[in-house]
Symmetry: C4
Subunit: 277 residues, 4 copies
């Protein structure tokens, strides 16, 4: 195999497509968000990207092996997955927002969503992998990319803010209403594909921004993924339901409360201390 | 040296050869199984594959050095090693199975068995090494490969199941009678050459399946190797004796019972506990 | 991206420029010294050097991302930064030295100062990165380089000596008045870009010397950076104020005295011991 | 820099030169032996081999830097260093052996001795470095190589045996009188340049053997180096004095006896135990 091997699965003509990247990272925020889009809309697998920078591994589904890869999916925003539409529970927030969404005012761009289970295994691999992703994106005429990720706060989150970073000042100005830009945050910069798509993309003329949901950093965080997707909705002029993410969030909250209970049962309570006195 | 250096030792013409891979891995199941074939049949060394992805090392036998390499052997299924045939103990299971083996109904494929002491040292090395192995296999006209390995269960095994994985649904259908395919097992996928021969092989048009013997994961496991070979017998239409593997299995069982004794002498027995009460 | 990507930001014609390197290292001595020059003089950014040998990372300033890079700056020695000139506190040492500086006797060389937050991530990267730096330097006609760094002593420093090393005996002779050369110091040699610019530079005909300020090795050390700069002043015939470095040194000294207090409050004093007796 | 950079320092015409390799390794046996040859005979530096596989480092001598490298030296066996000849102490063993040495019967081959402070930093580097060394050796017409090293026994040595390994059976037969070949020793094979010069050398038509002095593996071992050199004397038909190595061995023995004293003063003696009873 060459360093990269790109498998063409489908090759539709797309309208000014925007690349959305959501690979594994802090709190799996980006990956959860990207996979949620794939579940809620009808999609077409466009490309598989194989690379010797991924772990030397196949995964197994129903006995069949799949070589480690990233996948580029076309997401058809004019559809919504059946499961979501049939869902009886309603998502009020989105419905309300939806009535004033820019989607009604202009023809939205097509979306290409990049997902997968792997990042590269070393610094050079990150650079080369990002270049290969930009090559694929360019071949579809992509000029803009949003990368999705989490920014760790080190403590459990109450308000799910989303912080932005962009490859140029002009892009910050354009996105300023939808996402918050802070002076020097995140302090550690952005590591991996989510960061390099901005850094290397800018060198090649892409407009690229990173949307980072605040998250504790300790747990898979569907609520942070939802916060990021809500920003993306306004940027890309689409609407999506969140029932599946909410269910997942409730599962995680049960985990969190169990952890809290365990902590409390182990730590001495105020009562314990008084009793000693 | 280039990245790979292939030494041609013999170059016979082979009949639709199938590649059997058995390199070091979990429980050394694949390596034991492949080496058992080399011991039980007459073989011809075809190729040595040297690579800078192996440890920078020579081994020594009778004072002569051998550079780290993998070896491709032709295994002549029409022969059986003398030592095995002269062996007085009989292996009833195999004899019984043997009387109805497909070997009598069709001309079996030739086998090329790949063995060695090394895997590559890093992810890129695994990918490149597997590609080099596929190049050699292609040069012999190989279109099908079986990779042999172990799947760790974490506990001592009573019934030695063999799990399969295949590079395509069509191949699963073909092999379904001989080996069990499970939905998502092994959950961690298959790592190393045994997995990549399926993943990369499929990209190049090979039909490849992995046969994984369940094994504790703690010990070298000749019984699991036998279970894997029994599946391979039915797939490749040959018969082989297992005396040598059984002897090795008995040695391992002595090790296991010693470990169990040690554990029991350290842990309090039920009697000990009653005495306390 | 290729292994290296060099962005041309400005391309002035320079007079026999000397390369000054100050990247992260022991006590951040070299980096502090190089950055002090950028703060005290007017500068022009000449080149950005991107490389897949740097961490796969962007940093963020005011929401905009900057891909990991090194920067080559032209430093105009005929200027001094406003902030420094307006500074009321005077730096007597420098003023005194300044009155007899060689700057008045000859036209000084232009300076190109190399700074950044990164070194390469592995041995090969250090070699390739240094070669790329020498390529840029050569393109400006550089024939001489001074690399700045710290040499760890393992104890807090009272007298800030500066040790030199040079790529040739002829250069030692030339620099012998300004900097001290010792027989086998530093015993561990010089690791990273600061060392390789001499080693690889010499192979390409550069005259290169390394100026190493003694430093404890435990703390960022602005005083050691000043000592190194004072040697550089005499070598390159310029004058610079040290108020900013002195402020930073005072901050560090507060840190040091706090550490000493903590040590003293934890260790038993002579009085404690007498009291026990 | 390219992956390798070979500096030609001198280019004399040599008579059927044999390559002797002695790089850092177990007990520094090979390095001590090779450096002893450089000290005892007149030598000419032939080549310096620089490589990005070495640590990114310069060493410093008298203030001048030297880039990490290996050095190929011609050793003139018709000379002996003045210091050794003037030495009043006599080395009886060598003198006795010397009177019947094959040196008097045939014109000996010239020797090229390879020394240095570094091995490569990773597996691929070892392979590439060894290939580069073989390239240099070939350019001088070398057809035979002896690599020198230590084999760890894990305990302090009384009798300093030397074990051999060779790239072919024919070579074993030729060397069998001078050095002992054992069935499967060393069990772990030979790692690094000393092993690969045999493994890769054999692929390129070199006759190569490794001479391994038994050594504890815990300490620099000049006595083991002497044992190896005594084998080399008979193989290459030269004589050398050992005063310098003996001095170094005495220093090491003082270290060893201090360690033994410390161990004895800490462990309870038989007397201590009786006293308790």
């Amino acid at each position: 195999m060459d360093e990269f091997d790109i498998e063409t699965v489908a090759d539709p003509s797309l309208r000014d497509p925007i690349l959305i990247e959501g690979l594994p990272g802090v709190g799996h925020v980006g990956k959860l968000a990207a996979e949620h889009l794939l579940e809620e809309f009808e999609t077409t697998l466009l490309r598989r990207l194989y690379s010797e920078h991924f772990p030397p591994q196949v995964t197994i589904e129903d006995g069949t092996t799949q070589l480690a890869c990233l996948e580029f999916h076309y997401v058809d925003l004019t559809t919504a997955a059946t499961s979501s539409e049939d869902d009886e529970s309603s998502d009020d927030d989105v419905a309300t927002n939806g009535s004033t969404t820019p989607a009604e005012q202009s023809v939205p761009n097509d979306l290409i969503v990049l997902t997968g289970d792997h990042q590269a295994q070393d610094p050079r691999g990150h650079y080369q992998l990002t270049s290969a992703i930009l090559d694929v994106a360019e071949s579809f005429g992509v000029e803009r990319a949003y990368t999705l990720g989490g920014v760790p706060t080190g403590e459990l989150i109450e308000e799910y803010s989303v912080i932005g970073a962009a490859s140029s000042d002009a892009l910050i100005e354009e996105l300023d209403d939808a996402v918050e830009f802070r002076d020097n945050e995140p302090a550690g910069g952005i590591v991996g594909v989510s960061g390099l798509l901005l850094g290397l993309g800018e060198r090649r003329g892409f407009n690229a921004a990173c949307l980072m949901g605040e998250t504790s950093g300790y747990l898979v965080d569907p609520k942070s993924a939802r916060a990021v997707l809500e920003v993306l909705e306004s940027l890309c002029a689409f609407e999506v339901g969140y029932d599946a993410l909410e269910e997942r969030a409730e599962e995680m909250e049960e985990v969190v409360s169990k952890i809290r209970e365990m902590e409390q049962s182990q730590a001495p309570t105020e009562d314990d201390l008084r009793y000693i006195g």
